[in-house]
């Protein structure tokens, strides 16, 4: 597993096209490896994002971040697979979880990039600070492209179709949010005189 995992990590960052093809075709690299990738990225992400004043709260914060990321990963994959299976006439939920799990790997590079903000590099002036922001932006774009590639490779779709599919979870989220707002509004109307 470890060899496959490390090779896939390297491949996702260097040659994602062929790596995602291998993930889809090869059953050796599956959901568990993708789960490990997500776990690694979210733990690093929680260290990067943590803004509390006490170290003792950090483990609880990390656990909450990991759980949120896992729910988000499964929800997004489920919505995309639900819609994609209409066009592809076949569910590839496992494959999608595997590819999208590895697609978030560029985010782990925020570990060193965040040093531009937190560890004195910003003390060198505005330019290193701006470099940090630009690098963060590049990581975001890189990860977004990998995500679209993961969707396209899993279902053998075009990039354009993958973009439309990837928007679906956000639309689903918006609809769910508007339902929630309506529900809250009804509760307020009935609860208050």
């Amino acid at each position: 597993m470890s060899n496959n995992f490390l090779t896939t990590v390297y491949g996702t960052l260097v040659s994602p096209n062929t790596t995602f093809d291998k993930i889809v075709e090869n059953d050796d690299i599956g959901v568990f490896e993708a789960f490990c990738a997500i776990l690694m990225v979210t733990v690093i992400g929680s260290l990067v994002d943590y803004s509390g004043s006490s170290v003792f709260i950090l483990p609880f914060y990390t656990i909450s971040v990991v759980i949120t990321a896992l729910i988000q990963w499964i929800f997004v994959a489920a919505v995309i697979d639900g819609v994609a299976s209409i066009f592809a006439h076949k569910s590839k939920f496992d494959n999608l979880l595997a590819t999208t799990g590895f697609a978030v790997l560029p985010w782990m590079l925020m570990g060193p990039v965040v040093l531009f903000k937190t560890f004195g590099l910003s003390g060198l002036g505005l330019i290193p600070f701006l470099i940090g922001i630009i690098l963060a932006l590049i990581i975001w774009i890189w990860s977004a492209i990998l995500f679209l590639l993961a969707v396209a490779k899993t279902y053998n779709f075009s990039f354009g179709k993958a973009i439309v599919l990837s928007i679906m979870p956000f639309l689903a989220g918006l609809i769910a949010f508007s339902w929630l707002l309506g529900f809250i509004n009804n509760l307020i109307v009935f609860a208050k005189p």
């Binding site: 490390l6 090779t7 990590v9 390297y10 690093i44 990067v48 590079l109 003390g123 505005l126 005189p193």
Partner: protein
């Protein structure tokens, strides 16, 4: 194999970077931009971008209570709970160099007021706290203010009302008229003390008076603790030599104001702690407040105190509204409270009637 080693190296570098970054994030924000080779304009911009030093402005508006009426969807909207929470947060936040506490309250329940008072004392131990009084800061509102380093009131602010009130409504005559009787079975003679269904006995009155007197002593005792028995009183008096400023915090003029040297003493306090109310101007004369002025003046005093207490506090420091809604639920409730106003009938009922048989620190 080579690919695996490279992947492992990348992962290790990323983990180390995050860990070092985490250690860096625990440093004082000011030290991040504390480099003499960087231009002042760049430092200012960096300070803003990295969340630099600030003076927190915390607001307490309305009746001080811990009531469940002030909760929606598991989130408390009680002004007292929010004020306490943000005072504690500001006390721990290293980037907050001083607190301006804007209060506009006629008072409220005893325990809720005491909790905010204690939170302010905790905050004052770590950083300066300046109270700015709005329209009203009376009774429990004044009690909380007394925990601050400096109290700034507007000349027309209504303050004082130091005292305790308990209201026991009686429905006996009304019940007689409509032919309703109440049958009470109780374990002790005082179990239904203050009941609106029976007349108050002499013993009831004596017991309730004891509670009122005890709460009153707590009230006065805490004002003495907060404003009179203070070790740093001399320092605060010095700071009160505040320079006048224009609306801009950067533009200080040199002319000094007349300093109020009236010192509140326990004797003056007890003499005036009979429930009477004062304007800000009257309160200044007996030393209940330290300065006359608006919120801007309170901010300038807070800046002065912060500069005295901490190193590297700049005149260009940001004043941040610290009690802005932060979580999703808080934002929703903020929208809700602005869209759906509270019932006007609810506001017309005196607070002591809403909280019967309970000692209150409120201006009725």
């Amino acid at each position: 194999m080579k690919k695996d080693i490279l992947a492992l190296a990348i992962i290790i570098i990323c983990c180390l970077g995050a860990l070092i970054g985490l250690i860096g994030s625990f440093r004082e924000p000011s030290s991040i931009v504390d480099n003499s080779t960087v231009k002042a304009s760049e430092k200012n911009l960096l300070s803003k971008l990295t969340g630099g030093d600030k003076i927190a402005v915390i607001r307490l508006t309305g009746v001080i209570s811990d009531s469940t009426e002030d909760s929606d969807f598991f989130v408390s909207t009680s002004p007292a709970i929010k004020a306490r929470k943000y005072l504690d947060k500001a006390a721990k936040d290293k980037s907050v160099k001083a607190v301006v506490f804007r209060i506009n309250s006629p008072g409220g329940t005893v325990a809720a007021s005491q909790e905010v008072y204690e939170a302010m004392l905790r905050c004052r131990e770590r950083k300066p706290v300046v109270v700015s009084m709005g329209d009203v800061a009376a009774s429990g509102g004044y009690y909380i203010s007394s925990a601050a380093d400096v109290i700034v009131a507007n000349p027309g602010t209504l303050t004082g009302s130091i005292g305790v009130i308990l209201n026991a409504v009686s429905f006996i005559d009304l019940m007689d008229k409509i032919g309703v009787k109440s049958n009470v079975i109780k374990s002790g003679k005082f179990k239904d003390i203050g009941s609106s269904m029976r007349p108050m006995t002499k013993e009831d009155k004596e017991l309730l008076k004891g509670i009122i007197d005890n709460t009153y002593e707590q009230f006065v005792g805490d004002i003495i603790k907060g404003r009179i028995d203070r070790k740093d009183i001399a320092d605060t008096k010095k700071i009160k030599k505040v320079k006048k400023s224009t609306t801009s915090k950067k533009d200080f003029k040199d002319d000094e104001e007349e300093i109020n040297e009236t010192q509140l003493t326990p004797e003056i306090l007890r003499e005036n702690a009979d429930g009477r109310i004062f304007t800000g101007q009257q309160a200044l004369k007996i030393g209940l407040v330290d300065e006359l002025g608006d919120l801007d003046k309170a901010k300038i005093i807070a800046l002065k105190l912060a500069k005295k207490r901490f190193k590297n506090v700049k005149d260009t420091i940001d004043f941040e509204i610290y009690d802005k809604p932060q979580t999703f639920a808080e934002i929703l409730l903020e929208i809700k409270s602005s869209v759906i106003p509270k019932s006007s009938m609810d506001q017309a009922i005196p607070f002591s009637v809403k909280y019967p048989n309970q000692p209150l620190w409120i201006m009725e």
